[in-house]
Symmetry: D3
Subunit: 162 residues, 6 copies
């Protein structure tokens, strides 16, 4: 989830005190060649202008991430880096993985995570029907305990696609 | 949980594009004959006048359900219908099932769901002592991680019964 | 859940180094007067003769409890005592509470706990239809992730009621 | 998850006492037209010959489902039917949904469910790299608590693809 | 977790209608002699002056606990008492146990509980590095689903230690 | 959890295709200087001779890890490496972190993980009383749903310390 990714830890300038860039230095690993940054068709700025829910979420996340960055905790940075890598284009396209992140977030009932993955999938050009079918899988696997999160998810879908 | 039930999907007018009414068309199923709508002794309106927590919850739920209804997603509607059926009077009375829904919601730590089932049980004439004993089972099964939800549950109990 | 209850900690002989018997010494508490041991209509022995699944579960539990008893851990004993109290007859009958324990165990997906509460409910005279309706509430709240446990639960129901 | 699907409830012969076939009778629903059964490229029989883990799982599932079918519980049948519908080809292809089911099952840590969805995805022609990337999303979202299930998942992948 | 501890239930004045004080009356239990109240190096008042997040949390908790106290539910009081005992100095120091409570609360994703244990650990003299390493264990065990709670935890750490 | 650590990924020989060794190359990170491998006082071999439960667990884990290693999945290797780092000696001693891993594993109800951390803590010289107090925190936070895992944990404690 890019959501949890601190920009500073993977820019070229910080790579000295972070780990080497993933898809360049690990060519020996299977599938490494396939990993690449996804191509967003909508900017984060455009999302924030379209949806008030998205705007509030993204601003709060940015503010809270400032503290986490400042702490400069080695293990947290490593973890964010792995997280970033898990959602890159690879054997599966990034948009499929973002929808998988959405399903996982929904069955684990994390509102912030649902909001994040709906936004990410939207930015990658996922249709509303695809988002709804992903939420359907989560609803069936997770049961009615998932419904309050589903309802809030649909509110965001309405702001983005409605 | 009626909480998750979209009224439009089960009214007689919509039954054409929904599934057949449960207790009429499935007489071959064991227990089907027993399923029937519970008899509420308190209206939703009366609950909203008595408790500010209940009022805010029910209004937000109604507002969010509008989006879900509008989406008209087949699988979500089916799921809500099953949910509705699970809490009808049957081999076990509806009030027992609402309290079971309360226990499940509490151990799974869903505030909205706890609020919903406390309200439903109250409307069916469940006493405060019965609500508390249900919460006790949930507390013992679920441990102290349940306590923040228990505290908020007691706040609602106080508004309804206090 | 009697399941987790070490017999030795509540017999009269051990009450000196345990806490005072609940329903005698706390008469000031609301509802305390109502708490009393449930009346089983089937013995544990009869259950073990009827169901192989139940027999294996109860024997393993008994064997493992020996170690826990031997450890004589103060906090564990207190916890087991609270657990025992949560399922006594009170404002709600013991059989309702055992079914609530079954619902909680099912949505939290604990096979041992499901087995235990099905047995307890059976011993208290609960019908198969009541057990199934309880499992239905759990299925709807918990979703398909609950199904493997449901299937194993039905296997036990078949041995006990079939 | 077909895993939880009782064949008898959706065959044409039984549709009289079950609900109407989904994609025929609900044409008013958005996306309904798209739902259709997925095309398996590997039979269940072939899977069982290739993998001992798969064989044991599928046989146990079949045996346990016999009890559930015999019980003929209305709500369980309805639930299985919804479950079946959630994984059909639609706006998203069935193989993507099976992999979503795999991710959900892994973060919720259900071995039977992981086994089921790995088999389903395999039968739909999903590559090993796609299965591993799905498990990677689940590992990152779910953390090391997921690892024991990941290890068992890799054992099955090895039997199927190795 | 003291968080869940109702002061009235363990003061000497109420011990008559509660259970006997733990470390005096159960000398036969192993380790009982070791249990004692931890020595706080920072008062709750000082924490509230330093951190706005802590102040709001502690005030809300106090307000909600009023209802729970008023209910005077026997089982809830017993449960709070056990909870209190679990975090006393013993074979492990209280500060280690509070950090364990923090790890458990983080992997179970309970914001109120995270806030509570961070405050408790701070009051017992735990360093920021120790808090962060505890959160790291939780992050690795629990995965990215834990991150929203981690972010909010770091906000509190910043207010307390920054 | 060392449990999930594939030896090959962090030996000096493999560091070329893995990431740089953590405590040497990231000196700019706070606390990095403190991370170091813990000093075991009991070998894995000795544990396996003492406990049959431990022996079976460690052998199965080794066998299953062979498949995971063979897959050579980049992200899994990175994840195992982070996991390894989370339990090193640092601001908190390794033995405290292993007990935190035990608490997290117990409240999340993962038998393999409980077994692993009990063994790790034992190998680091943790006493039985410290293990039991850790399990007590988990029991109180997690409730009776934790009890089946607690019982199995006590069985292992008995084999190791009894």
């Amino acid at each position: 989830m890019l959501c949890y990714y601190l920009p500073m830890t993977t820019t070229r300038e910080h790579s000295a005190d972070a780990e080497p860039s993933v898809h360049e230095h690990h060519s020996a690993d299977r599938a490494a060649a396939e990993r690449k940054e996804p191509a967003y068709v909508v900017t984060e700025k455009a999302v924030m202008e379209k949806s008030e829910i998205a705007r509030r979420f993204l601003e709060t996340r940015a503010r809270l991430n400032t503290n986490v960055e400042k702490a400069n905790n080695f293990l947290v940075k490593r973890f964010y880096n792995i997280d970033h890598n898990a959602y890159l284009d690879g054997a599966l396209p990034a948009k499929t993985k973002e929808l998988m992140g959405l399903v996982a977030s929904t069955v684990l009932r994390c509102d912030d995570c649902v909001t994040y993955h709906v936004i990410q999938a939207y930015r990658l050009g996922v249709s509303r029907a695809e988002q709804e079918e992903s939420l359907n899988v989560a609803l069936v696997v997770g049961g009615t305990i998932v419904v309050p999160h589903l309802r809030r998810g649909y509110e965001l879908l309405e702001e983005l696609y409605g």
